[in-house]
């Protein structure tokens, strides 16, 4: 299911290999990231957007997006439908 890019709060870890989200809040529920299944980047104008496919400790799938222009996070996909 596409969420249209709903803004969320995310806690991310900064490591040498890059940034990795590990907790986020969506729909008044806190989720812990169990594993990152994919990461990729695209651009919107001069700004980079980092996308993450994550599976949470509840077994749910989310796609999260970090926008470099304002350091904001959004949920872009939830669940199976992509």
């Amino acid at each position: 299911m596409s969420t249209g890019g709903e803004r969320i709060e995310v806690l991310a870890r900064f490591e040498r290999s890059g940034m990795t989200p590990f907790r986020f809040r969506w729909n008044s529920t806190a989720f812990r990231v169990d594993r990152v299944t994919g990461r990729w980047e695209d651009r919107e104008g001069q700004f980079r957007r980092c996308h993450y496919g994550v599976v949470t400790d509840t077994g749910d799938f989310f796609e999260l997006r970090f926008h470099q222009s304002d350091f904001s996070w959004a949920v872009t996909q939830v669940g199976v439908e992509g």
Binding site: G38, E41, V55, F61, G79, V80, E81
Partner: protein
């Protein structure tokens, strides 16, 4: 055994669908179709093997795929994700050989100097599977062309070695359509002349195929004997582009001339911008049109000077369009291509006026900074959402390599 040169063709299995299943574990084991949502006009880019069991194939209209497999998960596709993964695949391959030639987003040729190609390929296959959790099928041969054919023999996750010595046994009994480059039209021409198998082409008397089919006949005869493809050409050694263009399949057939002209203007802007970014200008502008019955035409014009200005490309494209009167037939696809490219500045037509000459670099900078759709010619607004959809961008290369695209 002495080390010798081997060509390996790597073909990722159901690539887009496999990447989607990799990123979203909930999709694993389910039929997945990448190309568009139900109700859209697109065609299937890739179907997972689960969807293929229901008869869904690449190139099939989404509506047909929905009919065959209504319970599949239909996804529009995310090119950035596939490009990113593709780069990682090519990085893995480059660990095995510096001579890696990407043939498309999910295919590559690798040239190896080894006495044991089987071991090397098994290592490559394992590296892709272990590090990226994806599978690929491999073809290994002493010619590049045969390697490509061989990779299709055992899919998915297969591995086939086929040398020129194997051609009579493994290749000649296959139908002519199994040769890469032989589509429905060429296949029909060959059948009409009595060539049904690849062996028929290979055994044709000297000069006969050329007389019947022109230069294509000579190429097919070479391919039927497993020849062709030359060496693997890494990107840094690749020849310069020969043309660049953009095309767009429309969500629905358009009969509205002014909207189509607006769309042509938008495509011309994209082509012009890409030409300037690569420091190129083109002497010939070609319009491509497909009507609702899938009849396709191209119509081009060669100008006295190479051009790279959006306005000039758009003006010629609209003139060509007016000459075709294609809007009366219902347009399904439009495309604009710039050909006969030369480095920007080699006799390039100066921009129409001083203001335009100053405006174009400014427009380019705005789009670089704020995105492709941050600014556009007013006349493109009439094209509506079509002008804001992502067009398919083409970048062609010389004929001798085109056979492998």
């Amino acid at each position: 055994m002495l080390a010798m040169r081997w060509f390996v063709h790597v073909d990722m299995d159901a690539y887009f669908a496999s990447v989607e299943q990799l990123v979203n574990p909930a999709l694993r084991g389910k039929p997945v179709v990448v190309g568009g949502r139900p109700g859209s006009r697109g065609v299937v880019s890739t179907a997972s093997y689960e969807a293929r069991r229901f008869g869904v194939r690449s190139g099939m209209p989404i509506a047909e795929a929905v009919r065959r497999c209504p319970h599949a998960v239909f996804l529009p596709g995310r090119f950035a994700l596939y490009v990113d993964m593709s780069k990682r695949i090519f990085e893995v391959l480059r660990r095995f050989s510096p001579r890696v030639e990407p043939a498309s987003i999910d295919e590559a040729y690798v040239e190896l100097e080894t006495a044991a190609p089987g071991d090397a390929v098994r290592d490559m296959q394992k590296a892709i599977r272990d590090e990226l959790q994806l599978t690929a099928s491999f073809g290994v041969s002493d010619t590049k062309y045969l390697a490509k054919i061989a990779s299709g023999f055992e899919k998915p996750n297969g591995f086939t070695v086929m040398t020129r010595a194997d051609i009579p046994a493994r290749l000649w009994s296959l139908p002519v359509g199994a040769l890469h480059g032989v589509g429905a039209k060429t296949g029909a021409r060959l059948y009409a002349r009595g060539y049904t198998t690849i062996g028929d082409l290979a055994r044709a008397p000297d000069g006969l195929l050329e007389r019947q089919l022109g230069s294509l006949g000579a190429v097919l005869r070479r391919h039927a004997n497993g020849e062709g493809g030359g060496r693997v050409v890494p990107p840094e050694e690749a020849p310069d582009a020969k043309s660049l263009g953009c095309e767009q399949t429309l969500e629905r057939d358009l009969f509205d001339r002014s909207r189509l002209e607006a769309l042509l203007t938008a495509l011309a802007e994209k082509v012009g911008r890409r030409a300037r970014r690569h420091g190129l200008a083109g002497r010939r502008i070609v319009l491509k049109l497909r009507d609702r019955r899938f009849h396709t035409i191209t119509h081009g014009r060669t100008g006295p000077h190479p051009v790279d200005a959006d306005g000039e490309i758009g003006r010629v494209a609209r003139d060509l369009f007016a000459e075709t009167r294609f809007w009366e037939r219902g347009v399904r696809l439009v495309g604009v291509t710039l050909e006969q490219l030369v480095p920007n500045g080699d006799g390039r037509q100066l921009a129409f006026d001083f203001e335009t000459a100053r405006a174009l670099p400014a427009l380019d900078r705005i789009r670089t900074k704020y995105g492709e759709h941050a600014i556009a010619a007013a006349r493109t607004l009439e094209a509506g959402a079509e002008a804001r959809r992502k067009p398919r961008i083409s970048f062609s290369i010389p004929d001798e390599l085109a056979a492998f695209q």
